[in-house]
Symmetry: C2
Subunit: 187 residues, 2 copies
DNA sequence: CGTTCAGTTGACTAAGGTCAATTCCCGTGG
DNA sequence: CCACGGGAATTGACCTTAGTCAACTGAACG
């Protein structure tokens, strides 16, 4: 939890009292490989930070898994759309390995928003970070071919490449495993 | 400006004093058809709301325009990535018709963040809204074919369809004008 | 009327999707 | 230690669809 405190203080410097209040809302949770942290059809009522492990965010369409995100230690994770709108999620969050995470319930966070500038700042900055990730990813889909997206991934997210099986990377790039295999051969 | 005030009060209820402070940072600006509100290579130092008109957010890659967003009255607009990171924008913002907008400089907004909970709430909620838009759009690219994306657009954004020339819609969907024309024929 | 430009169409190419078969890799159990 | 099983990755054959380039159509505008 000390590590988390330091991390959050990099975002916004909370005083001890604020930190204590925040801490009371945070649960540390462990999970095993394959655990479903969120299942399709349920509301995502939390936002979390990965402490250890590797998680993915995926949906199933016509029998095929579509992986939307991978999360590594110190990444925020949530179905933030469901979190914000109270709409049931279309996605699953799965632990790809054993791991631990810190979770904070929406209801708790929304109470904090009424209390101080700093909690609002924290919420704002988290939201901004999540925006940036989505925006960059969308830009890739709009202007790059699958091959170019793969090359970008090689440069910008080599950690994903080495940590994740190729068929999940394919769906992360919006293509089939066979296509990714052929793209790799063409290079 | 009264209309804007009402709109913002729907997001977070500012008292008169807060509204006056905010108002002092807002400029109302008119523009002609074709005006470039932001040009590639410049930092986007503002966030705005469309009062009237129709705007688009596009970049050019290998001579082709890639339209990333369309903005209608009461939409927030900005290259929010550039706004947040102070990195020069890769995009252009163009007025597709004569119009007016309200603009707020980043520097002013960041000063407001130091002043009260409400301004932070406002910033947070704007950021959340921008996130939601991006997230939905990315989901479409991940799980839908061009044809399905077009059909979704028909259902969910008919206003775009009727307001925007087809070749821009094609690039918004991530395909060429010819392909969109053929997709429409196939339906 | 022409000019212009969006939209369509045609012919062709390139690339991804699909389905099935095969190979590769790795872990497990005999 | 080897053999086997299972899942990931690759490959092949074929299909479908998007990209490209060029020609044509049609509507809007002066």
């Amino acid at each position: 939890m000390e590590y988390l405190k330091k991390h959050i203080n990099n975002i916004v410097s909370l005083n001890e009292e604020e930190w204590d209040v925040l801490k009371n809302g945070i649960q540390e949770i462990s999970c095993a490989k394959g655990d479903l942290i969120l299942a399709e059809g349920n509301e995502c009522d939390f936002i979390g930070i990965i402490k250890t492990g590797l998680f993915r965010f995926y949906t199933i369409k016509e029998g095929n898994e579509k992986t939307n995100e991978f999360w590594f230690p110190m990444d925020y994770f949530s179905d933030y759309r469901s979190y914000l709108t109270n709409i049931p999620s279309n996605f699953n969050i799965e632990a790809m390995r054993p791991g631990t995470m810190w979770k904070l319930k929406r209801t708790y966070m929304y109470k904090l928003y009424e209390e101080s500038v700093n909690f609002n700042k924290l919420g704002r900055i988290v939201s901004e970070q999540l925006f940036l990730k989505k925006a960059l990813r969308l830009d890739g889909f709009l202007k790059d071919s699958p091959k170019e997206r793969y090359l970008q991934l090689l440069i910008k997210d080599p950690n994903i490449l080495q940590a994740v099986p190729q068929y999940m990377i394919a769906s992360y790039l919006g293509i089939t495993p066979e296509s990714l295999s052929r793209i790799r051969k063409r290079i």
